[in-house]
């Protein structure tokens, strides 16, 4: 139900670039309600509740610190491994949980899609923001660790800039969620594929190691991965780690933006017959 004095025309749609962004804005309250529903439902009837948003990355940090830091002795650009790892793990966890839940969002919302009209993009988009709340909570632990390792952290005004690096993360996760959720409606195979893609993704992003682990002539490839920019940006702003290759990483952001726009176009195409094939 949109604003009054509106005329709706139902007819076969043919265009490519009808992204209906205004309509998305009209339904912003539904987006807010779904963001909050995702969060409540995820932690209902668990004793620790929302504390899991903190516990999950912390436990992962402990395991990876032992395996990759102690046993494999991976480089961390001179910063204590746990805090180096955790600063990278946070944006990566944001990215992977968003992609996982976003991919299944249309199938999970099947009964809603079949029975009522609303801009379907809201379903995958809602997980972008739900995971941001998880990220905000997990950041509290990072701030604690920064205080603990304060001798190795360069405090400075650049610290206020870390939210800027969420922009490419949200863009990239949003674009990929749109592509994957729409494709997963037609090809359920996507669901089997995504966990492995994310596993590979974590190793082509400098989460558990530093960029300089790679030979210099291959580093640009790594930097084109939009998540590299996010992870490196977090470490630069929060830990004061010197970072090279900003130009390539800006290119990575461009790729993420391209993915988002093309994802919206593709999603709108699939949306037309969504209720028929779900």
């Amino acid at each position: 139900m949109a604003k009054g004095n509106m005329v709706y025309v139902r007819r076969p749609r043919t265009g490519w670039f009808d992204l209906a962004l205004g309509e998305l804005w009209d339904y912003r309250d539904l987006l807010a309600t779904l963001v909050w529903r995702n969060l409540t439902v995820r932690y209902k009837q668990s004793a620790l509740g929302i504390a899991w948003a903190i516990l999950k990355p912390v436990m992962q940090m402990v395991v990876f610190s032992v395996v990759f830091g102690r046993m494999a002795n991976l480089p961390s650009d001179g910063i204590p491994y746990p805090v180096f790892l955790y600063a990278g793990l946070l944006p990566w966890t944001y990215f992977s949980t968003t992609i996982t839940s976003g991919t299944g969002s249309l199938l999970a919302g099947g009964t809603m899609i079949d029975k009522v009209y609303f801009p379907r993009m809201i379903l995958p988009f809602s997980y972008l923001f739900t995971s941001l709340i998880d990220l905000a909570l997990a950041l509290l632990v990072l701030f604690g660790m920064m205080a603990w390792y304060r001798a190795d952290v360069a405090f400075g005004p650049q610290m206020l800039l870390f939210p800027v690096f969420l922009v490419p993360a949200v863009t990239f996760a949003g674009g990929l969620s749109l592509w994957l959720s729409a494709a997963a409606v037609r090809w359920r195979d996507i669901h089997h594929l995504v966990p492995y893609l994310l596993q590979i993704g974590m190793f082509v992003t400098p989460v558990v190691y530093a960029v300089k682990l790679l030979p210099a002539r291959f580093q640009w490839l790594l930097q084109l991965n939009p998540m590299t920019g996010v992870v490196e940006g977090f470490r630069w702003s929060l830990l004061g780690k010197p970072v090279e290759g900003w130009g390539m990483m800006a290119g990575g952001f461009g790729l993420a933006l391209l993915l988002l726009v093309s994802g919206m176009v593709y999603f709108r195409r699939v949306e037309r017959t969504l209720a028929d094939i779900l």
């Binding site: 139900m1 949109a2 604003k3 009054g4 004095n5 509106m6 005329v7 709706y8 025309v9 139902r10 007819r11 076969p12 749609r13 339904y27 309250d29 539904l30 807010a32 309600t33 779904l34 529903r37 409540t40 439902v41 209902k44 009837q45 919302g109 009964t111 809603m112 899609i113 079949d114 029975k115 009522v116 009209y117 609303f118 037609r186 090809w187 037309r272 017959t273 969504l274 209720a275 028929d276 094939i277």
Partner: protein, 425 residues
């Protein structure tokens, strides 16, 4: 005259049947071994050149057998799916109620679900907050608003969901069969809410199998048959057409029989005796709708009943709320002559002066030994609707949906022989 609120022109919808890509890899392997490539899957024309328009403040009914395209039409109007051809123009805020409680999440509380359901239906959170008290009041379950919906009974869920929907403020309301749920008192409340919507100058499109509801709510109606407009006009005329059409119930053969033989016995020691059943009117025409006070005539085809010469054939009529209303059987009617029975027979049972109020009903068929041992039974073998009629013979159009049965009666008025006593001093 102002432009119609809903204008539908040459609307069509084609569905592709079959799976979307049934195991592509297996298909490829088959083709390598020389099997032909499967052709394009067949198509189903769900809607074919549908035209109509609905004006302001009109309640418009959509009727037709299952699969006639009613729900597809509503989904296109609601914007859920696109048509394949033609177009529909809707002027005004639209709310669709194709299911009660869309998006209700079992883990969330009643209060949380009101906001979730309301925003899905297109309300702003602020609008829901303003209406919240009225919604809770309408649903009548204020004690449970902080309980997760998974602990609700299905009736409570329906109450809450319809309460949200009743407080939408659309100019065009699309409703699909929501009256089939809930108890009678709540159903009446919903009907009242729908009448209010229409009374407020808003337009309602209403899909239902319940002819009684269509008849009492709608001004005009449209009947669909296999995706095409079969009849359009004043609601009562369209209902008459629908009643007379042989397709008005579930699968029937040329003589209106519903096949019952293709099944397993209900229990191990039981047999398949009941073969087919139908309802007819007094001129032997198969029907699925009868009028209050008419004769309910049922034909039941049986096989092998000669092996149980004393067997009783009967049926129980249940309301849509699964309430048993009455049972009648051949023993009550005096039974049959047990001698000279044949393997294939047809049993006719008649209930004159049917005392059911308007609504939807189901009949369970039973065959049993007089001692009570089951021989065969089919629950919900027949479904039928009862519609209002001039039961009392003088055009009374008042409340006839009160209670479960409709009775006739008499009344007299006379001067009392004794003058009224004065009140005590």
């Amino acid at each position: 005259m102002s432009a119609p609120l809903v204008a539908v022109e040459h609307l069509g919808k084609v569905f592709r049947l079959g799976e979307i890509h049934r195991d592509w890899l297996a298909g490829l392997a088959g083709r390598l071994r020389g099997r032909p490539r499967p052709g394009l899957p067949p198509c189903l024309r769900a809607l074919d050149d549908v035209n109509f328009s609905v004006g302001e403040g009109e309640v418009f009914g959509l009727v037709g057998a299952n699969g006639a395209g009613k729900s597809t039409l509503l989904k296109i109007l609601a914007g859920i799916t696109d048509p394949t051809s033609g177009r529909a123009v809707l002027r005004g805020r639209i709310a669709s109620l194709l299911e009660v409680g869309t998006g209700f999440h079992p883990e969330l509380t009643g209060r949380e679900n009101v906001f979730l359901n309301g925003t899905i239906l297109g309300l702003r959170r602020r609008e829901i907050a303003e209406e919240y008290d009225r919604i809770v009041d309408f649903a009548g379950i204020e004690k449970f608003m902080d309980t997760p919906v998974k602990r609700y009974s299905s009736g409570m869920r329906v109450r809450l969901a319809f309460a949200v929907a009743a407080h939408l403020r659309p100019e065009i309301l699309l409703i699909d069969e929501v009256l089939a749920v809930g108890d009678v008192a709540f159903q009446r409340k919903c009907l009242g809410a729908m009448k209010d919507v229409a009374g407020g100058g808003r337009t309602v499109l209403f899909v239902s199998h319940n002819m009684a509801a269509v008849g009492s709510l709608c001004h005009r109606a449209l009947m669909l048959r296999q995706g095409q407009v079969a009849a359009i006009g004043p609601a009562n005329d369209v209902i008459q057409t629908y009643i007379r059409s042989a397709e008005a119930a579930h699968v029937r053969d040329g003589q209106g029989y519903v096949a019952l033989h293709d099944r397993l016995p209900a229990a191990e020691h039981m047999q398949v005796v009941l073969q087919a059943a139908r309802l007819t009117d007094d001129q032997e025409r198969p029907v699925s709708i009868v009028r209050v006070g008419d004769t309910l005539r049922m034909d039941v085809q049986v096989a092998g009943l000669n092996r149980f010469p004393a067997a009783v054939v009967g049926f129980t009529v249940r309301s849509i709320f699964d309430q048993k209303i009455f049972h009648f059987n051949t023993a009550m009617a005096g039974g049959f002559d047990a001698a000279g029975r044949h393997p294939a027979e047809s049993v006719r049972i008649e209930i004159p002066d049917l005392p059911l109020v308007a609504g939807s009903y189901a009949a369970d068929l039973q065959v049993f030994e007089p001692a009570g041992r089951w021989i065969d039974r089919v629950d919900e073998a027949l479904r039928f609707d009862v519609v209002e009629s001039d039961l009392y013979g003088h055009g009374y159009r008042g409340e006839t949906r009160e209670g479960l049965i409709a009775v006739r009666g008499e009344c007299r008025i006379a001067l009392r022989e004794e003058a009224p006593r004065e009140s005590a001093p």
